[in-house]
């Protein structure tokens, strides 16, 4: 597994914690939402950097107060065509003001990455060999014409208020 973040492959200094695993005091771990619900007291008063992993279907509006506690929020794509995390990322950026890393985990494929970016993802855990190959070589289509505003900054094009063009 490799991490592609803000347009480049980088070393991943975060580790996923499984259910039932103990919490390292130094943090730098991505905690499943259920883990956080049950064990959050462990990190009371701690400034250790933490991440949160959210499966599709979880109602994030219940955790709005907690969101600023996290440096990373990992959203899961159980299959590439389960598109719930697109909406969740969009909400995190636009409604809940999350400024940290939003990371796509699970089945993350080359043809979805630009859409994910436009919804607010900026990091991608890559497990798929052709996707990694395409990202490393830069040989994949990047679109420049869009019919909707996105979370990322894209200047409006022409007169239509919904159009965007990347520079």
């Amino acid at each position: 597994m490799t991490l592609f973040k803000n347009g480049a492959f980088v070393e991943d200094n975060w580790r996923h914690i499984d259910e039932g695993e103990d919490a390292p005091p130094a943090g730098h771990v991505i905690l499943p939402l259920d883990w956080w619900k049950a064990e959050r007291a462990v990190y009371d008063g701690s400034n250790a950097p933490l991440g949160l992993k959210i499966e599709p279907g979880a109602d994030i509006s219940e955790y709005v107060e907690d969101i600023s506690r996290f440096s990373v929020i990992a959203l899961v794509f159980p299959k590439y065509n389960d598109g719930r995390a697109f909406s969740t990322a969009q909400l995190l950026r636009t409604r809940y003001g999350f400024m940290g890393e939003i990371r796509a985990v699970g089945e993350v494929l080359i043809d979805q990455i630009q859409m994910m970016e436009r919804c607010g993802f900026n990091a991608f855990e890559i497990n798929n060999a052709p996707t990694e190959k395409a990202l490393r070589s830069g040989e994949y289509t990047r679109f420049t014409h869009f019919y909707q505003p996105a979370v990322t900054t894209e200047p409006p094009a022409g007169t239509r208020p919904w159009l965007r063009k990347s520079t």
């Binding site: 389960d82 969009q90 636009t94 043809d111 859409m115 052709p130 014409h145 869009f146 019919y147 094009a157």
Partner: protein, 557 residues
């Protein structure tokens, strides 16, 4: 009609280039069919029983002559000389090769067409009234809003991996010719008490194996909120729609299981919370898009055409054509001409390349270069001067396109069925052909009056049988095709789902059964003014059921 600007052209060109690359990777074996599948579906390419099938989008069913000539060219060069117009106002080609599809898409792009989002779990081609911009009863042309929705929904980053496909329809007349109440979202243009124009919003209609009539979530939505409200519905659906079962994934199931009031509340809450995301449509922008759809400059004519009246006296077939296939236009002295793609005994919705070319030429000469595809699988010339209709009719006769049966019992909708479709459980086309031959282009058919027969070859209901006045559903029972009949369905503003008559009928029995139903109606109607649907609603199922199942006591039907 809408014309691409540089932006639209650039958008389509990028998609064509991407698909060309994906096809090349597939042909060289770099990617498997499974990995290729989502890419081809994004571009309307299905793998069917015998071959690939390419579905080309005709946004809200509007075409010009040049585009129709291109559809003919594609049929000739890449297919077997014909195409099939669908109930989604699109056209399908049944025999393209994979290798050719990037070239087909490139050819389409030269006339501002594409196949984007004609399949997959995304917002599909937005449909509209096929008489939009021409019908006498219209409040406002729905196409500018369909076009705005088309643009906004194209490769939407948040809504391209929905639980299931999503269909939006817009109509602008009190008579609903776009079947909006059986769409995922239906927008009906209305005027409120203050005299402002906006939309009544229907959500959660659909056909398929669980037919449902949409719920009205809003009586009045201001025009400026069209995209924001759509976004709110889509987001609630994307997050909450079921993904555990493909057959329960459409928004109709979410609305049904959530409840109408709760669904309304959820959508309104999301709409209210959009905040900085709210995409408001300025009136200037609506006006700019509307300008593309302005009524063409039509010369002033007198309401009656002497040419038409004279021809009527001497040519009864022409008179029948005028009565059935010509609809009232907004302007005096003009008519909307429906070109039936339902020749007696033919395949519903098919047109040859030569016919497409001829229709394109007719549109250029007589209909302000405009053609429409109807969800009833016919074509429409929306702006024909009454004086020109005899000439149009003569050319249609030469092209074998002058069948005078629009809205009659032989104007049958049928899905491709088991002759083409990988999902079908029974054949649809031969059933349509037999019923068509039984009733023919006769005085009897004309006397029966408006009667919509719709045939689907499986429970996915692409042939819209649930909303047929007479609906026929082809199923397979122990290896044998059997046809279930429903009565009293309707896709218009009085939307209803048909009732099942009882046990199904065999391939050999189904035409007789339809005739029995029609004979029962003819015997019981109060007058010719009471059409089949009205009569059924008055009489109920009982007399039809009796006629079908009790008359021949002991028969095994």
């Amino acid at each position: 009609m809408y014309r691409y600007d540089e932006f639209d052209a650039g958008f389509v060109a990028e998609r064509v280039a991407q698909f060309r690359d994906q096809v090349a990777r597939r042909l060289s074996g770099d990617i498997t069919e499974e990995q290729f599948r989502p890419h081809r579906l994004m571009n309307g390419l299905y793998l069917q029983l015998h071959a690939y099938m390419l579905r080309v989008a005709v946004p809200y069913g509007t075409l010009n002559g040049k585009q129709m000539h291109m559809l003919a060219h594609i049929a000739r060069k890449y297919d077997r000389g014909y195409g099939h117009f669908t109930t989604r106002q699109n056209i399908q080609y049944n025999w393209p090769t994979l290798k050719d599809t990037p070239d087909i898409l490139a050819d389409l792009a030269t006339v501002e067409m594409h196949a984007i989002q004609t399949s997959g779990n995304c917002i599909r081609n937005v449909t509209a009234d096929h008489f939009a911009g021409a019908a006498a009863d219209e409040i406002e042309d729905p196409r500018p809003y369909a076009e705005i929705l088309r643009q906004w929904s194209s490769v939407h980053p948040e809504f391209t991996f929905l639980p299931r496909k999503f269909k939006i329809a817009v109509t602008g007349a009190p008579k609903d010719r776009a079947a909006i109440q059986v769409h995922d979202i239906g927008y009906h243009i209305v005027r409120n008490e203050q005299g402002e124009m906006g939309f009544a919003v229907y959500v959660g209609g659909g056909q398929g194996r669980t037919p449902m009539i949409a719920r009205k979530l809003r009586d009045f939505l201001p025009k400026k909120d069209l995209l924001a409200y759509t976004q709110a519905v889509m987001r609630v659906y994307n997050l909450e729609g079921r993904r555990d079962n493909k057959y329960k994934a459409r928004i109709k199931i979410l609305v049904h299981e959530t409840g109408e009031a709760e669904m309304r509340e959820a959508v309104e809450a999301e709409f209210a919370a959009l905040g900085s995301e709210t995409l408001s449509l300025p009136q200037t922008e609506i006006a700019r898009i509307q300008a593309y759809f302005a009524m063409p400059a039509l010369a002033v004519k007198s309401a009656k055409s002497a040419k038409v009246e004279a021809r009527r006296q001497t040519d009864p077939r022409f008179a029948a054509f005028m009565d059935t296939n010509v609809t009232a236009h907004k302007r005096a002295g003009y008519g909307i001409v429906t070109i039936s793609l339902k020749p007696i005994g033919g395949i519903p919705g098919d047109a040859t390349a030569d016919q497409m070319d001829a229709i394109a030429d007719l549109a250029k000469t007589y209909s302000q270069d405009e053609i429409r595809v109807s969800h009833e699988q016919n074509l429409v010339l929306p702006h024909v001067a009454l004086d020109d209709i005899p000439a149009v009719y003569d050319e249609l006769l030469r092209q074998k396109l002058a069948t005078a049966n629009a809205g009659l019992i032989t104007d049958i909708i049928a899905c491709p069925g088991m002759d083409y479709c990988a999902l079908a459980t029974a054949r649809s086309i031969p059933i349509a052909q037999r019923i068509s031959e039984r009733f023919g282009e006769t005085k009897r058919s004309a006397d029966i009056g408006e009667l919509k027969i719709k045939i689907s070859g499986c429970i996915n209901a692409c042939g819209h049988h649930h909303v047929g006045h007479i609906g026929i559903l082809g199923l397979e029972r122990k290896g044998v095709e059997t046809y279930q009949i429903t009565l009293g369905g309707s896709g218009d503003e009085t939307c209803s789902i048909g009732d099942i008559t009882g046990p199904g009928f065999s391939t050999d029995q189904v035409t007789d059964a339809v005739e029995t139903i029609v004979d029962t109606y003819m015997a019981l109607r109060t007058s010719k003014d009471e059409d089949f649907l009205s009569a059924y609603r008055r009489l109920g199922m009982k007399p039809f059921k009796q006629a079908l199942y009790e008359r021949d006591t002991g028969a095994s039907i």
